[in-house]
């Protein structure tokens, strides 16, 4: 019988070995951010409202009504005087862009950001195993991922993916790819490059719903270095806790609210319909409904369930007025119980205010998003990272804090994810030298007075002023 027991040891040891291997593997499947670098274009690319006015005037297809509309949009957009535009705007050629304008714009961005990122992290380009590039409105052959691989001479067995046309929420979609690939492979480095290409996408016509897109987007980008190597856990900045994607393409109204198409004269532009806020709210609610149970503590969920049951009971028994104005859709849940910081996509003032109302956020919570919108404008998919950098620069991020990122995109998508801060951060990235100037005393656009008069002009007697 001793022999029997001895023989039994072998499978038992093997069993323990298998179990230990599985536990070990699951620990290797976490996604950590080692470092990230936002892009700050050179100062000669800075534009303010005055320059925007000039650009608007340049377009011969626009009349007084369009001027009014656009200037009103620019002035009340929450975008400040120090945002950046692509170089093509300065040479006046925005209506006839060449292929190389788009390419040079992208090359300028990634040579700067990726170079800084890799040298600071001490990783050589040959160590990168996974490269995901998401730049919405630019598709060329070879892809931008190939361009990066060529520029940095990366390895031939690299896994590269080039995502396009996924809108302003593409950052989170790329994170989804990286997170999934990390679960199947051990000890890998991933590079996520996100930006937006503005040079080839200027709309030269006068369709109202399409000219708005011209004025809102600004240049920006970010390169992020991720890994699933748990030996580097102590160097990591953030750990990904969960990620939820919601796609409302099945609803026709949501799908049609943000479409790239040709206007009546055949000019390609970005059509933003009036149903955009409604589609955004709908997808936001759907997304929150899925992610809330995953990020909030059980106590809060229990409380919410009890409160909503009580409310339902009240309504059924007629003790609360049925016709009470709903107001903005309030989640009713206290998000602050599970999240300390909120990274909101800087789609515009309306977007930030809308999310603030839904999640019941204070000005302190909204400061990073509002300041990013003011300083860098709407940089599309990379805006989330500028907001994160602001929080870091203001030394708000302490170990154990949780950061909630949420963004919207054409289609209509709402993607969100939750990060946990793994060590006290205070570097500041692109905000380093100027964060002490924020928040500024006033956010009112200085051109409100200068261009305010345009609201009273009569179209028949209007002449473009010479100044």
């Amino acid at each position: 019988m001793e022999l029997f027991f001895l023989l039994l040891c072998i499978p038992i040891l093997y069993l323990f070995f298998i179990l230990w291997k599985r536990v070990n593997d699951s620990r290797d499947q976490q996604c950590y951010i080692l470092d990230y670098q936002c892009y700050k274009p050179s100062d000669d690319r800075m534009v303010g409202t005055e320059f925007c006015g000039e650009v608007i005037k340049r377009n011969k297809n626009l009349g007084l009504n369009e001027y009014k509309f656009l200037l009103k949009a620019v002035v009340s957009s929450g975008i400040g005087e120090q945002t950046y535009a692509p170089r093509i705007m300065f040479s006046g050629r925005e209506e006839c862009p060449k292929l190389e304008d788009g390419i040079l714009e992208m090359e300028e961005f990634f040579c700067d950001s990726i170079g800084k990122l890799l040298s600071r992290a001490g990783i050589s380009p040959q160590e990168i195993d996974l490269l995901v590039v998401n730049i919405s409105m630019f598709a060329a052959v070879p892809s931008l991922s190939s361009r990066i691989i060529n520029h940095y001479k990366m390895r031939s067995d690299i896994k590269s993916f080039n995502l396009t046309a996924m809108g302003c929420s593409a950052s989170v979609i790329s994170l989804d790819i990286i997170r999934n690939v990390f679960k199947s492979y051990k000890n890998k480095f991933a590079l996520l490059v996100t930006s937006e290409s503005l040079s080839p996408n200027w709309y030269a016509g006068n369709n109202r719903s399409m000219i708005l897109a011209n004025c809102l987007f600004r240049s920006g980008g970010c390169a992020i270095l991720l890994t699933n190597n748990k030996a580097l856990k102590h160097k990591a900045m953030f750990k990904l806790k969960c990620l939820v994607r919601t796609h409302h393409g099945a609803i026709d109204e949501s799908y049609d609210c943000c479409v790239q198409k040709e206007d009546d004269e055949g000019r390609t532009g970005f059509h933003l319909s009036k149903t955009l806020p409604k589609a955004a709210t709908r997808s936001l609610v759907d997304n929150l409904r899925t992610i809330t149970p995953k990020i909030l503590p059980f106590r809060e969920l229990l409380r919410f369930m009890v409160v909503s049951l009580v409310k339902k009971w009240n309504i059924r028994h007629g003790s609360s007025p049925k016709g009470a104005p709903q107001g903005p859709i309030k989640a009713g849940v206290n998000f602050k119980s599970g999240v300390e910081h909120f990274c909101i996509h800087t789609g515009g003032k309306a977007v930030i205010d809308g999310i603030a109302a839904s999640l019941d956020l204070s000005d302190y919570d909204l400061e990073p998003a509002r300041m990013t919108l003011h300083r860098y404008g709407n940089t599309s998919a990379s805006s989330l990272w500028y907001v994160l950098a602001y929080m870091e620069a203001k030394k708000r991020l302490k170990k154990g804090d949780r950061v909630f990122m949420i963004s919207f995109g054409a289609g209509f998508k709402c993607n969100s994810c939750l990060w946990e801060v793994t060590r006290d951060l205070g570097d500041g990235n692109v905000w380093k030298d100027e964060v002490h100037r924020f928040p500024p005393k006033t956010l009112v656009n200085p051109y409100m007075e200068k261009y305010g008069w345009i609201q009273d002009e009569d179209p028949s007697t209007f002449k473009i002023p010479e100044d």
Binding site: K21, V141, S143, N150, G249, E262
Partner: protein, 496 residues
Amino acid sequence: MPPTLPDFSNSVNLKYVKLGYHYLVDHFLTLTLTPVMIGIVVEIVRLGPDELLNMWNSVHFDLIQLLCSSFLLVFIATVYFMSKPRCIYLVDYACYKPPVTCRVPFATFMEHSRLILSNNPKSVEFQMRILERSGLGEETCLPPAIHYIPPKPTMEAARGEAEVVIFSAMDSLFEKTGLKPKDIDILIVNCSLFSPTPSLSAMVINKYKLRSNIKSFNLSGMGCSAGLISIDLARDLLQVHPNSNAVVVSTEIITPNYYQGKERAMLLPNCLFRMGGAAILLSNRRSERRRAKYRLVHVVRTHKGADDKAYRCVFEEEDREGKVGINLSKDLMAIAGEALKSNITTIGPLVLPGSEQLLFLLTLIGRKIFNPKWKPYIPDFKMAFEHFCIHAGGRAVIDELQKNLQLSAEHVEASRMTLHRFGNTSSSSLWYEMNYIESKGRMKKGDRVWQIAFGSGFKCNSAVWKCNRTIKTPTGGPWDDCIDRYPVHIPEVVKL
């Protein structure tokens, strides 16, 4: 007179020696274990049934010990099966068959060319020469917008083409597999040169009202090998998400990318690229095991972007007049050969039988140690695969690969015939070729297929599939009405 007969008999002997060697090494384990098993059986028979019964009775089994050991066995078996990587099945796929009205026979193409490039007879002449030697047939198709003189490549028309191609392929896929749109968990769309906002994946989600928690991805700019990149991504996702269906849509939208200038190097893609698309259903559900057509064995990706020459060989740029087109460099074949070699180096050890690997290793050692002048041993891939699907990039690509891999005409028949019937449909051409092999009734259970595709950047990607069940004809694919006419003999030059 050189004595030829002895050589002949020598070669026959050599063939048998080779066969014997391969058999010996491949079945090494079986050949060594069989004598051992026979020995044990002989020993048992010798002992006689009475002695065996005595031995059995002398082994006491407590109930607890019995329970423990059986529980242990069951547990180990469960853990083992759970930790195996999930099997990825290709349930079925559907290829888009363009309508006859979109056909572009040589005569139509040349007439167009003469009318549009009326000021450049040299360019017209160039296109004619390319077409003569291209290996394309008379039934390839271009989208309606390109049939106009001059072509009308509006975004509206491009979206129209995308809708027709993708939705037809998807409808066909739903019909063949009985898949419900709500059951799709992962959607990957790849189209190199057309990416409108919202993306083509969003367009598919909108049309078929897919679920709101679908994981969708839109890859673009990745060239003709993007189909295999999408399969790679689908595989990684299916490893993480159990019980899921993934739909991969591979296509190339020609409308916005038809070169309208007169640079010769850029007119080449116009002569080769044609309309086409494919939708593929992958799954990791156990229930699909019975009806799946193939099982995915390997996907190997190689990216030669670090080499500047390779990077520049397929390049989109503007010509002198500012018209955008794709420039194919003259070194394309050499670079493709290099990229293939890299890819083979990785995939070889994964798929080649032991005998080939041993030979390769021995020659490698021999070259390093004894004499570097020994010829490098090129492993025989025909021993690892029954069928080859080489991306129908052009006649030269197929010729080059046939030479490099030492394949026979029958092996490359699927590629050549797809090029003839459908032209270069970019990332979906591999699926037309697969369908050709199936329609010919050549796909039997256990057959291994190797799909190789090249793409801009420069990438060489390959996928290895194993056939799960013998596929009956007709397959309900794009070859159904014309498979009897194939194979056709494609002359070197078709005189126009």
